[in-house]
């Protein structure tokens, strides 16, 4: 044992796994990452546009909220609408991702849900009374989304296919079906004219209010489901370890199928909100790639629906604001994506500092003690 005097060649930097971090420390680091990312956006924008550093944030703020101080609230409603649609898709993928089922098909599931809504609105519009048609629109889009989510889950459960690829491919199938449907209805114009039959009613001052209320209710419901229900617990266990789940008698296949149905169904709701609630029309860009952004929302929100609200709002704020900076300076519109990317990069990167601590080589004296 006295041989232990052999010299340790200690590297300059140590990376040590840490599990002692309190929740507020972790969130402090994440907040710092966001602030850093936002500062970076300001610097990059100021350099590219020649605007002053602070003016960049002014433009971003105006781009998102408009002249809110002059009592014009339309932009605030739009911000709410954009946030809840992204949030709704995030809520949809959260249970699947928590179960470590990589559902990259939110885009397609939402599109198919929207298509079902559109189909009912066109097909049964004027033939059924509105009080029957609106529920039909809602139910059919939920079912359609659920089926679209269930298909890859069945293949996964039965033949262990790769769900990432499968769900991705299903997006393209959905997009093409929509393109074909738009062609059938709209012909060469490539446009379906708005259909008012079967559309969700407008309540209150803004056409977006109902959407916001529905997603708010959905957020609470998803929180309760994931945190307090037996099914939510099963999702957590399957996500942690499938073997453990089997050991304690959970039917893993059943959980996978059920959760993907739920995931697809909520996507279907998002599609329905877009088609029956907002656009009253559909095309292959209706969801606009948000099914993919939603994955970031779910991850960054750590599958906690309330944190996901903040994440959606953050991403929408950055995207809308940066688009305004780009437009008012005739920059390419990709600038908005780059800006959002910068913040997400910071956020993903900072997880490293939450999981691990970096220690410099300790002084010689310390080692010998």
């Amino acid at each position: 044992m006295s041989q232990n005097t052999k010299k340790h060649h200690e590297p300059l930097i140590h990376i040590v796994k840490r599990d002692d971090m309190v929740w507020w420390q972790a969130w402090g680091i994440r907040l710092a990452a966001i602030v850093l990312g936002v500062l970076l956006i300001g610097i990059v924008s100021a350099v590219l546009t020649g605007e002053s550093f602070f003016e960049v944030y002014g433009i971003m703020f105006r781009g998102v909220f408009g002249r809110i101080f002059e009592g014009k609230t339309s932009m605030l409603w739009k911000f709410g609408q954009d946030t809840v649609i992204l949030l709704c898709l995030g809520l949809a993928v959260a249970p699947a991702f928590k179960m470590k089922f990589w559902n990259c098909g939110a885009e397609g599931q939402a599109l198919i849900g929207g298509l079902a809504a559109m189909f009912c609105m066109i097909q049964f519009g004027g033939k059924l009374p509105e009080w029957m048609l609106v529920p039909l629109v809602i139910v059919s889009s939920i079912i359609a989304g659920a089926i679209w989510g269930l298909i890859p889950a069945i293949f996964k459960a039965r033949w262990n296919t790769n769900e990432t690829l499968f769900t991705l491919m299903m997006n393209y199938v959905a997009t093409q079906i929509i393109a074909y449907y738009v062609y059938i209805v709209g012909g060469g114009s490539n446009v379906i004219n708005p259909v008012e039959t079967g559309a969700l009613p407008v309540i209150g001052k803004s056409q977006y209010l109902l959407n916001i209320l529905i997603v708010a209710a959905l957020t609470v419901a998803m929180h309760v489901y994931l945190k307090y229900s037996k099914q939510g617990y099963e999702i957590t266990v399957v996500g942690e370890s499938q073997n453990t789940a089997r050991y304690i008698g959970i039917n893993v296949k059943k959980v996978v199928l059920r959760t993907m149905m739920l995931s697809g169904a909520v996507c279907g709701i998002a599609g329905m909100l877009l088609v029956a609630g907002t656009d009253h029309s559909i095309n292959k860009d209706t969801v606009g790639g948000q099914g993919f952004t939603a994955i970031m929302v779910a991850w960054l929100g750590q599958f906690n629906p309330f944190v996901m609200v903040l994440m959606s709002a953050l991403i929408i704020f950055l995207r809308t604001g940066a688009a305004k900076v780009a437009d008012s300076n005739m920059l390419n519109s990709s600038f908005a994506d780059i800006s959002v990317g910068l913040v997400i990069l910071m956020l993903v990167g900072c997880e490293f500092f939450i999981q691990y601590s970096v220690r410099l080589r300790r002084a010689k004296k310390g080692v010998e003690a």
Binding site: W24, W27, G28, L31, V35, V38, F54, E55, Y57, G58, M60, F61, R62, G63, F65, G66, R67, F69, K72, S74, M75, K78, Q81, A179, Y183, V185, G187, G188, S189, N190, V191, N193, P194, L274, T278, D279, S281, N283, D285, T286, G288, A323, A326, D327, S328, M330, N332, S333
Partner: protein, 394 residues
């Protein structure tokens, strides 16, 4: 927790302070533009360049929103341009924007809405909603003349015989705008090369580089010796350059990428319309419900000729152009084409938009099909002899 709150408050104050600065200029006119894509799309670039030029010429502020899909996002963009930027005129550049722009127009009666390529202004019953297009078929016809001259050169050189003078055309959809375009192109070619025929293939997309390329290659393999297109990508021109087949392009010159095969290109120049619309609003005058520019006022523009054109093309082109301007040459003269072997005296076109594309308006008068007269967007969709549609799935 307190510290986090403090940081949050500080950030919020920063925003508030910054947002209060500026934005209090005098009452100068502001024009808001809504673009489907950005300057990377040849279609939108054509609009963006014109908007910049027109706003500079007229001394008004230009505000733009790019990447606005044909969804409720278009309505949101219009509201933002009005409420947040204080725009007095809103312009949108894509066909599918129309329904969402109409929604905004109904809510903001004091703002003028102008929409390119749309069809509903004359039936919408809104005083502040207007459509605009151009007699682009004149440009297509002239481009067709250049193509016909090239075919004649090939026939004279013995490369092809007169009955093999077949052109190919890559279109997006079997849609009046496309059909009007390829028919005028064909008629232009036929006016100088009587034996010409044409095959048309549709891609089912306004922008799909791969499909357009494949369609052009298929047409070339099918015996077409000259290609033109109505789609926005470089697919067809590139396929032609590779195969060494002459190409008439659209929306701008492709001479730089295709030096050996580029003949000519026609495009709509939107500067005259933008200047018109701004002038009207400045003077408090009404904007036409439907406005269609032509060769005369510069709305229909041609690029320079490529190096591959036949000898004497420039002279012939000038001659036909003068004829179109003074009205002695009519593109859709019913004496120059037949349908199932017969001349048409009457044709009911679908001018008023409805879901079923019901024909509703007599378009032929005095032996001429009057394109873009009853509304600015094209409605010529007659299938004339000499043109074969290879696939009609779109």
């Amino acid at each position: 927790m307190k510290r986090i709150l403090a940081v949050l408050l500080a950030v919020l104050m920063l925003f508030t302070m910054a947002s209060c600065g500026g934005n209090n200029e005098a009452d100068e006119l502001k024009v808001g533009f809504i673009f489907l894509h950005d300057e990377n799309s040849t279609y939108d670039k054509n609009f963006i360049d014109a908007a910049v030029e027109a706003c500079e010429n007229m001394g008004v502020t230009m505000v733009q929103k790019t990447q606005i899909p044909e969804s409720n996002a278009c309505y949101d963009a219009a509201v933002e341009l009005i409420e947040s930027d204080g725009c007095d005129i809103i312009f949108a550049d894509s066909f599918g924007h129309e329904n969402f722009l109409l929604k905004a127009a109904a809510e903001y009666p004091d703002v003028q809405f102008c929409h390119a390529t749309g069809t509903q202004a004359h039936t919408a019953g809104l005083d502040n909603f207007h459509n605009a297009f151009a007699h682009i078929y004149q440009g297509r016809y002239l481009a067709g003349v250049v193509a016909g001259m090239k075919l004649n050169e090939m026939i004279e050189a013995g490369t092809i015989t007169a009955d093999k003078a077949k052109m190919g055309y890559v279109g997006a959809f079997t849609f009046a705008e496309v059909m009007s375009g390829y028919t005028s192109f064909y008629l232009g070619a036929k006016s100088v090369c009587p034996s010409v025929t044409m095959d048309v293939k549709f891609t089912g997309s306004w922008y799909d580089e791969q499909l357009e390329k494949e369609a052009a290659q298929a047409l070339i393999a099918g015996g077409c010796v000259l290609i033109s297109q109505h789609a926005d990508s470089m697919g067809a021109p590139t396929a032609c350059e590779t195969a060494g087949v002459p190409n008439v392009s659209y929306n701008g010159s492709t001479a730089a990428a295709c030096p050996e095969t580029f003949l000519i290109s026609s495009r709509i120049n939107w500067v005259p319309y933008f200047e018109y619309m701004i002038t009207q609003v400045k003077n408090g005058a009404a904007i036409d419900v439907d406005w269609a520019g032509d060769l005369e006022n510069g709305s229909v523009a041609l690029t320079d000729l490529g190096t591959a054109v036949a000898a004497g093309t420039a002279e012939k082109l000038a001659e036909v152009e003068a004829g179109l301007k003074d009205g002695t040459v009519k593109v859709f003269d019913t004496a120059t084409f037949t349908v199932n072997g017969e001349k048409i005296d009457s044709y009911t076109a679908d001018v008023d938009t409805d879901d079923k594309f019901t024909p509703d308006t007599e378009a032929v008068a005095n032996g001429i099909f009057e394109e873009s007269k009853h509304r600015s967007a094209p409605y010529f969709d007659v299938r004339i002899d000499g043109i074969t549609l290879l696939d009609e799935k779109y």
